[in-house]
């Protein structure tokens, strides 16, 4: 054999890899080696197959792909010699897994080796089968394994027993074949056989109810005796670990007793004595002894109650908990969590110690302790426990704050005895760790705040104070901004003072300062800034004297690079400047949010999936979009066949209510679509805020601006300023980029009567432009059925989010007796072909100076629109 004929020796390769200074060098060495191994594989080199596979295993361990060596394993396994087989099987277990087809090819070799005369080869085959067997192989080779359970050498029997575990897990039907052989294995003395037989026994009990019954009846006594012998056995050096005889075996025995005793009083009764013996006699100054005690406690907790033992177990846990070794404390906390369902009172006694563990310097212990505390909290101790946790939050590590905050919030939400306490605690958490709070948490807080009408003033004042000191915590800023926007008047006038409060003096301009600080802060994100703008809009009506200043602040965002802010700024600016008459109605206080609805939604949602970012909304494939839409649809009462809202719906739901941000990544959309879409959303948001009628988008109402600045945004050329005369307006339609489609192009749709009441009829005429089937042009025709004159006529429409709606100005805002008005709509169906159009409408007008309102839902659109 020439050692240079097939690359380097294994040892040299490892040296070369060790010598590598950088990952790039290592990759180069590995690439070179792999190339030479591939070459050897294709030459079908026999001499170095063994060594090449050893190299491949090393390379595999380093995390490089080695699939090309898989067939080499099979060749080695098929070789006659033991050394080849051994490395072949090792390669098989390391490089292959049960999912690969190649594995099927090995079944035959395995079968031969299971029947080999050499017990070591049988052992190899059993080991490989036990580690990687697939269901097919298990079925094929089960008879061989069954037979090997009675093999003369105990070292084969023990491997056959573990191999059987794999088989019954893969093919549970085969379980019954193994019950009897295991029962006889349990009578053996060899520790390895006992250890594995007990594990097989445990797995059989899990797979098969009959097996469990069988072992319970026939084997409990035997197993108890084995344990008794193990506990009382004289010194056996081979299995002794620090003075304890075979702790691994004892632990397995305790575990099978747990399975047998669980839910069966007789079996439990039978093992009481030996458990008491283990619990009292085992030395607890060594790790091995503690491992046994730990297992014993768990068994006592799981089997049927016999008071004396439980006391013993709880005492052991108490001892563990006060141990100085962190490992022991860790397992004690772990076990107390299980014990809590058995004996909550006993665990409560250790509350103070557990609370100390939450503050431990060790992250693992903190985590366990925190989870335990979470389980310990109930109505009676929630106040002191929450106080302790919140106090600790102040000084805790940064990386622990996330977990801790989530747990505190959950405790406070779940168990708060009164709203004021809840609000107080949440404020503390937000101030300390507002950046760690999930969105759903502060959304929930807002829901609670809106419901606590007697606390509005108190809350807004507390929040105002809070952001003075904790302005760097995003969540507290958001809640504060929202509350100042809603309840700004209560803030400045000290309305609704509680006895516990100290009066503070806040002027209107102070309140606006607070929001200005928030919107200017460079760390504020889009959501916060958008909320700030919303709050400013609301304050502009609450504090009329500051209106000009608010307008100035709002105007500053006009040039924002973030489209959402820019748009809000422009819209709000226009509302503040030009629409005073409807502003106060528009920014009325939010209606009380329904707690039940909200918590119901939350319950159905997966907290981890909740996120405020709706940035992906447009890019997500169909269906998901619909889910996101669902809450909004709900709010508008659109009776679409919607699925139960899940996942992110809760956040989005509130988000929309809060006038939240609908961020659609600007690059994803192009041209004029963007403003139109967002325009619609804002309209929806406004509608959903429950404020009385307001038409920004298409208003031709009583002021003299026929087309709001908004619309000029979305039109390619701004319309010339026109008077409200109908003719002029129609002229203005000239340059609009959407002429009705020619009749002979594309399918035509019959006009429908979309809505009809005693006084009004609304007809829809449809047309589509060829090449864009998802866009529907609608010409709405309103006919006055009476002879009276309707003035201030406003038509509004809302659609679910899979649709985009663009309303153009109506031809007039006055409907003469038996006259008509037309208005054009453009609907883009993002789910064209999957969902039909649906729309909710509101028509308002004045009849003899009396406000009239008609509402309806249009669902009789022709299909395929």
């Amino acid at each position: 054999m020439n050692p240079f004929s097939s690359g380097t020796r294994l040892r040299d390769m490892i040296r070369a890899i060790r010598a590598c200074k950088t990952a790039a060098e290592e990759r180069a060495v590995v690439r070179k080696e792999c190339a030479s191994i591939r070459a050897a594989v294709s030459d079908n080199d026999n001499d170095y197959r063994h060594r090449n596979l050893a190299k491949l295993m090393f390379i595999h361990m380093l995390g490089y792909p080695t699939h090309f060596g898989q067939m080499e394993c099979l060749k080695l396994i098929a070789a006659p010699g033991f050394p080849e087989k051994r490395i072949g099987y090792l390669g098989l277990m390391l490089l292959l897994d049960e999912r690969q087809e190649v594995l099927m090819l090995v079944t035959n070799s395995l079968k031969q080796d299971l029947n080999h005369t050499n017990q070591y080869i049988v052992g190899l085959a059993l080991c490989a089968l036990g580690n990687i067997s697939s269901a097919e192989m298990a079925r094929d080779l089960a008879p061989e394994v069954e037979r090997l359970l009675q093999f003369r050498d105990p070292n084969v029997r023990k491997k056959a027993a573990l191999c059987s575990i794999r088989i019954i897990k893969k093919v549970p039907d085969l379980a019954e074949n193994f019950v009897n052989p295991v029962a006889s294995l349990l009578k053996e003395k060899h520790h390895g056989v006992l250890l594995t037989a007990i594990q097989l026994c445990a797995d059989l009990c899990i797979v098969s109810e009959e097996a469990l019954e069988y072992f319970r009846k026939k084997c409990t006594e035997g197993i108890v005796k084995i344990l008794k012998d193990a506990v009382n056995s004289p010194y056996a050096p081979e299995y002794d670990i620090s003075g304890i005889s075979d702790p691994f075996l004892q632990i397995r025995l305790l575990r099978i007793l747990r399975i047998l005793g669980h839910g069966d009083a007789d079996a439990s009764d039978f093992m009481n004595d030996v458990l008491a013996q283990v619990a009292t006699k085992t030395e607890s100054n060594k790790n091995a002894g503690n491992a046994i005690l730990y297992e014993c406690v768990e068994t006592i907790m799981s089997i049927e109650d016999s008071g004396g033992l439980r006391v013993l177990a709880i005492n052991i846990l108490g001892r563990f908990l006060s141990n100085r070794d962190n490992n022991i404390r860790y397992v004690a906390l772990n076990m107390l969590m299980k014990a809590i369902s058995v004996d909550g009172q006993a665990v409560q006694r250790h509350r103070a110690t557990i609370l100390e563990c939450v503050k431990d310097s060790d992250a693992s212990i903190r985590k366990r302790a925190l989870e335990l505390v979470y389980l310990l909290v109930n109505e009676s101790n929630v106040k002191p426990l929450a106080k302790e946790l919140i106090d600790y939050l102040v000084v805790s590590d940064q990386d622990f704050k996330g977990d801790l905050t989530a747990k505190i919030c959950s405790i406070v939400e779940k168990l708060s005895p009164e709203k004021i306490w809840y609000i107080d605690q949440m404020l503390k958490v937000l101030c300390e760790a507002g950046n760690y709070v999930k969105d759903e948490v502060w959304h929930a807080l807002i829901v609670v705040i809106t419901n606590a009408s007697n606390l509005h003033g108190y809350t807004v004042r507390s929040l105002y104070k809070a952001i003075q000191t904790s302005g760097d915590q995003e969540a507290v800023v958001r809640v504060a901004v929202w509350c100042i926007g809603e309840y700004g008047d209560l803030l400045v006038n000290n309305i609704g003072m509680l006895d516990i409060e100290e009066p503070i003096t806040v002027t209107e301009s102070d309140a606006i300062d607070a929001i200005e600080v928030a919107i200017m802060r460079h760390t504020s994100d889009l959501t916060t800034r958008a909320m700030c703008l919303m709050a400013l809009l609301k304050l502009s009506s609450r504090f009329p004297s500051c209106s000009q200043r608010i307008k100035d602040i709002v105007t500053q965002s006009k040039g924002s690079l973030l489209l959402e802010l820019q748009q809000r700024s422009i819209e709000f600016n226009s509302i503040i400047g030009k629409h005073q008459n409807l502003r106060s109605a528009l920014v009325e206080r939010m209606p009380v949010l329904d707690e039940a609805t909200y918590s119901g939604r939350r319950a159905g949602s997966v907290p981890a999936a909740v996120s405020t970012s709706q940035g992906n909304t447009l890019n997500i494939p169909n269906g998901v979009v619909k889910i996101v839409d669902a809450p909004l649809v709900d709010l508008l009462d659109l009776g679409v066949d919607e699925p139960a809202p899940t996942n992110s719906s809760a956040a989005n739901f509130l988000h929309d209510l809060l006038g939240g941000v609908d961020i659609s990544s600007p690059s994803a959309q192009s041209g004029t679509m963007q403003p139109q879409k967002s325009g619609t959303d804002v309209l929806l948001d406004l509608l959903s805020s429950g404020s009385p009628l307001a038409q920004i988008n298409t208003s031709t109402s009583d002021n003299k601006i026929p087309v709001s600045p908004l619309n000029s945004l979305s039109l390619s050329s701004p319309l010339p300023a026109a008077t409200s005369s109908m003719m002029d307006l129609l002229d203005g339609f000239g340059p609009t980029p959407t002429p009705p489609a020619p009749k002979d192009n594309g399918p035509t749709y019959p006009p429908i009567v979309a809505f009809e009441s005693a006084s009004l009829r609304l007809m829809f005429n449809f047309s589509k432009q060829p090449g864009s089937p998802h866009i529907t042009q609608i010409e709405a025709n309103f006919t006055n059925k009476s002879s009276d004159v309707y003035t201030d006529f406003i038509f509004q429409a809302a659609v679910p989010k899979f649709l985009q709606l663009h309303l153009e100005p109506a031809s007039s805002n006055t409907l003469n007796g038996n006259g008509s008005v037309t208005q054009k709509l453009r609907l883009t169906n993002n789910q064209h072909g999957k969902k039909s159009l649906v729309m909710r409408i509101r028509i308002s007008y004045k009849l003899n100076n009396k406000d009239m309102l008609e509402e309806g839902q249009i669902s009789n659109f022709p299909r395929d629109l």
Binding site: F82, L90, K159, F248, E295, N327, D362, A363
Partner: protein, 143 residues
Amino acid sequence: MGIRFILMVNKQGQTRLAQYYEYLTLEERRALEGEIIRKCLARNEQQCSFVEHRNYKIVYRRYASLFFLVGVDNEENELAILEFIHLLVETMDRHFGNVCELDIMFHLEKAHFMLEEMVMNGCIVETSKTNILAPIQLMDKAS
């Protein structure tokens, strides 16, 4: 199945032995090893030997420059696994004579053979050092 994987890692964070008892892709393995090692290496002597990561509980123990990490499921007795690691080290010590990183690197297959005798499909098979080493010594004699 209690044991999900066994890793031996040096204090630079390089894997020196990896044995998995459940299927993970190569990428998942690399990612998992990286995360676990980073977590464990950052901990000090006084802290407990258990780290929770993803669905695993990692029981680890440091011997000189080598970390032994065992990933187990939630049902496993952590203290027993700690004892098992010690048994593994003692077994290797008996074979290699004060085992070190290089022994495992250059005799990777032998280390695997020992592990094979001790753990199969995530369960402990044998705890007697003599029984574990018997087939390996037999092989050494034969070659």
